[in-house]
C-alpha cells in the first residue's frame, strides 16, 4: 500500500454546498456591544474559570495590571495623546512601532488602553511563545495571541475586539540603537488586508521611549541561529547589570500618540484585495507613524523626562 510520501499532506476537500443556497448566519450588528462578539450559550454558568477562547483570563489580566501599574505609572511615566481616536466600541486594529530587545511597548500599550478605556486589548505576537512552557501559558492568559491571520480575523470580525499588532515584528525589536526610531518594513502589509477583510479601521500609534528602555548595541546572528531565536542581543542594560539587565529597563519616558483611525472603504470578507492597494495603505500608515515619531522626537527635550 503506498504510504503518503508528502509529509505536509493537505486535508481533503469535497464539493462545497452552494453558497447562495445555504441560509447565512444573521450578521451581528457591527457596532452594538463592545465585548464580546462570541455567542453566549446557556452553559456559561458551568464554567469554572474565565479563560476565553483566546486563552485570555480577565482575572489573571487583572493581577498582571496590578503588578504592572507602578512600572507603567512611576517608571515609564506613560503619557497618552489622542486616546479619543481609539474606538470605544467595535473592532479595531491598533498598529504601533516596536522597539527594545525585550519590548516594553506591548504591555504598556495594552495596560494603558485597558485602564483608560476599560476595553480588553489582545496582543498579537510571534509563534515563538507557544512553545515555551509556563511563560507561553502566562503570556496567553495575559492577552497574548499567536499572530495568525485567522486568529486576527476572528478577533476583529467575530468578536469585535481591539487587537494590537506590530507589523515590524522582530525586525523592529532586533534593531540596533543607532537605528532607533527608523521604522523597518511593515511586513507584507498583511495587517491592512486583515483589517480590510474584517471591516475594521486601523488605528496607528506612535511610541517614543521604548527604544531607550533597552537599547541593543550588538547582536550575534550566529548564536541566534544556533539557538533558534530571532536575535541574541547585547543590551546596554546587560553591560551595566549583567544577566539582570534582561529584566531591568531604563526609566525612559514613554509617550504614546494615537493617530486618527484609517478607514479603507472596502467591503469586508472579499476573496482577495488588490495587492497594490494593500501595499499603498501599509506604506501610508508606516509613513504616518514615522512622521509622528519625528515630530514627537523634535519636541522631546530629554530621554528621561520627556
Amino acid at each position: 500500500m503506498p504510504e503518503p510520501s508528502d509529509d505536509r499532506a493537505q486535508t481533503a476537500r469535497l464539493a462545497e454546498p452552494a453558497r447562495a443556497g445555504a441560509p447565512s448566519m444573521p450578521e451581528p450588528g457591527t457596532q452594538l456591544v463592545p465585548v464580546p462578539g462570541e455567542e453566549r450559550t446557556d452553559d456559561d454558568h458551568l464554567r469554572r474559570g474565565d479563560v476565553d477562547r483566546w486563552g485570555r483570563s480577565e482575572s489573571i489580566r487583572e493581577i498582571a495590571r496590578t503588578i504592572y501599574d507602578p512600572m507603567y505609572r512611576y517608571w515609564f511615566r506613560a503619557e497618552w495623546e489622542g486616546l479619543e481616536h481609539v474606538p470605544r466600541h467595535g473592532g479595531a486594529l491598533l498598529v504601533a512601532n516596536h522597539a527594545g530587545a525585550i519590548p516594553a511597548d506591548a504591555p504598556a500599550i495594552m495596560h494603558g488602553i485597558e485602564t483608560e478605556l476599560g476595553r480588553p486589548v489582545y496582543g498579537l505576537a510571534e509563534f515563538l511563545f507557544r512553545d515555551v512552557p509556563v511563560l507561553g501559558t502566562l503570556w496567553s492568559r495575559a492577552g497574548g495571541v499567536t499572530a495568525h491571520p485567522e486568529n486576527a480575523y476572528r478577533l476583529l470580525h467575530d468578536d469585535r475586539q481591539l487587537v494590537l499588532v506590530f507589523p515590524e515584528g522582530v525586525k523592529g525589536t532586533g534593531k540596533l540603537y543607532r537605528d532607533r526610531y527608523q521604522l523597518r518594513r511593515f511586513g507584507r502589509g498583511g495587517f491592512v488586508e486583515i483589517a480590510m477583510r474584517s471591516g475594521v479601521p486601523v488605528v496607528p500609534i506612535a511610541v517614543v521611549g521604548a527604544e531607550e528602555s533597552m537599547p541593543i548595541v550588538w547582536k550575534s546572528p550566529r548564536l541566534a541561529k544556533l539557538l533558534g531565536v530571532p536575535y541574541v542581543p547585547v543590551t546596554v542594560n546587560m553591560l551595566m547589570f549583567g544577566p539582570l539587565g534582561l529584566l531591568a529597563y531604563f526609566p525612559a519616558k514613554f509617550k504614546f500618540r494615537v493617530l486618527p483611525p484609517v478607514h479603507f472603504g472596502v467591503d469586508p470578507d472579499q476573496e482577495r484585495y488588490s495587492r497594490s492597494r494593500v501595499m499603498d495603505e501599509a506604506d501610508r500608515i508606516r509613513e504616518q507613524i514615522q512622521d509622528a515619531l519625528f515630530d514627537m522626537l523634535r519636541k522631546r527635550t530629554s530621554v528621561w523626562s520627556g
Binding site: 499532506a9 486535508t11 452553559d43 458551568l46 474559570g49 477562547r53 511563560l135 485567522e150 476572528r154
Partner: protein
C-alpha cells in the same frame, strides 16, 4: 431510505443503527461489522464481514441500499496498532467506496466519520480551524496518516460520483458515558496527566451530539466537509476541575519518553497525537454545520459537565450500563420467525 451502517460492532455503529431504525422513513438498516452489535437493535440486519469489506459489492447489490454511513474508522490509536489501523481505515474505506462507486450502484449518499486530528496541531496553527484549513505540521502518527488517506479517497469518490451526496464529518474529541476515548480514559484516572507549563484550549463533542450529527447528515442533503464540536474551547485545567481530578505534570521535554513507562505499565496510554493536543490544544469552527441546520445539545463545557456527572454516578453505584450480548438465534427468531406478531396496530 435504505441504509448500510459500517462498524456495527462498535458503540458508534450500533448507536447510529439504533437511531435510524427508530425512524419510519428508514425502510431497511443493514449493519456490517467484524463484531456483533453492542447495543440491542430492533430490526437492523447484522452481517458479519471482515474489515476489508470484500463482500460489500454483493451486499450493496442484493440489498439495494441507497445510503452508507461509514462509522468504522478508528481514531483511537490506543486500541490497535498502526498496521491494523491502516487495514481498517484505509483498505476498508477503499473497498467500501469501490463497491459504492460501481456502475449501476444504488448508492446516493455516503456519510463518513472522520476526525479533527487531520488538521494536526502546532505552534503556527490558528486557534480555531475552518474546514478549509491546511495542515502546517507533517502527519507522523499512523492514525493521522490513515485518516488523511481516507479523506483523499472520499474526496476522489465525491469528484468521480457527482450524483452521490458525500458528507464528511470531522469530530473533535468525544466525551460521554459510553464511548471509550483516550481523553475519557485519562479523565477516569485518579490523577490526570498534563504537560508541565502548558494549559491548552480544547474542544469536546458530547457523544449524543456526535451521533445526532451523523444521523443529521444521513437525513439531510449536506454535501461537503463539516467540523463537529461543541461550542467554545476550555483549558485542560478547567476540564480537570470540572471532573474533580488533580493533575500530575509530565515533563515538557521528551514527553513521549516520559509517557512510555506509563503505557508499558498500562496505567495510561497517551499516543503522540494526543500529547500534541495537550501541548497546543485545538478548536474548530463548527458554524458550517450549524448553518446547515444542525443544533447542538451540548457546548464543550456542557459535554464536560455531563461527562463529570456520569463519572460521579459511576464512582458511587458502579458501571450501570446493562451488559448486552448479541445472540444470533434470538435475534433471528425475533426478526424472521412467523410466530412473532410484528404489526401491533
Amino acid at each position: 431510505m435504505r441504509a448500510l451502517v459500517t462498524g456495527i460492532g462498535t458503540f458508534w455503529g450500533s448507536r447510529i443503527a439504533q437511531e435510524l431504525e427508530g425512524r419510519d422513513d428508514v425502510e431497511v438498516v443493514v449493519g456490517l461489522g467484524t463484531n456483533e452489535p453492542v447495543l440491542p437493535l430492533e430490526r437492523t440486519e447484522y452481517v458479519r464481514a471482515d474489515s476489508g469489506y470484500t463482500i460489500l459489492q454483493r451486499l450493496v447489490h442484493a440489498t439495494q441500499v441507497d445510503t452508507i454511513v461509514h462509522t468504522h474508522l478508528m481514531v483511537d490509536s490506543t486500541q490497535l496498532g498502526g498496521r491494523a489501523m491502516h487495514e481498517i481505515n484505509v483498505i476498508g474505506t477503499m473497498n467500501l467506496l469501490a463497491a459504492a462507486g460501481t456502475a449501476g450502484s444504488p448508492i446516493r449518499k455516503v456519510v463518513v466519520k472522520s476526525s479533527t486530528l487531520v488538521y494536526g496541531a502546532g505552534k503556527s496553527d490558528p486557534y480555531v480551524f475552518r474546514e478549509e484549513a491546511k495542515r502546517t505540521t507533517p502527519a507522523r502518527t499512523p492514525v493521522e496518516r490513515s485518516l488523511l488517506e481516507v479523506e483523499s479517497f472520499v474526496s476522489d469518490f465525491s469528484e468521480d460520483n457527482p450524483h452521490v451526496t458525500v458528507t464528511l464529518l470531522r469530530f473533535t474529541n468525544i466525551l460521554g458515558d459510553h464511548m471509550q476515548t483516550p481523553f475519557a480514559s485519562a479523565l477516569r484516572l485518579p490523577v490526570v496527566p498534563e504537560i508541565f507549563g502548558f494549559d491548552p484550549l480544547l474542544q469536546f463533542t458530547h457523544e449524543d451530539d456526535a451521533c445526532a450529527a451523523l444521523v443529521f447528515a444521513c437525513l439531510n442533503e449536506i454535501p461537503g466537509v463539516y467540523n463537529v464540536g461543541g461550542d467554545g474551547t476550555i483549558p485542560w485545567s478547567e476540564v480537570c476541575t470540572i471532573v474533580g481530578k488533580r493533575r500530575v505534570a509530565l515533563p515538557p521535554v521528551l514527553t513521549g519518553l516520559a509517557a512510555e513507562p506509563l503505557r508499558m505499565l498500562r496505567v495510561l496510554d497517551l499516543p503522540s497525537e494526543l500529547l500534541t493536543l495537550l501541548r497546543y490544544g485545538k478548536g474548530v469552527d463548527n458554524s458550517r454545520l450549524k448553518r446547515a441546520g444542525f443544533r447542538y445539545r451540548y457546548s464543550t463545557v456542557g459535554a464536560v459537565e455531563d461527562f463529570a456527572r456520569g463519572l460521579r454516578l459511576e464512582s458511587t453505584v458502579g458501571d450501570r450500563t446493562p451488559a448486552y450480548r448479541y445472540q444470533r438465534d434470538v435475534e433471528t427468531f425475533f426478526r424472521h420467525s412467523p410466530a412473532v406478531v410484528r404489526d401491533h396496530e
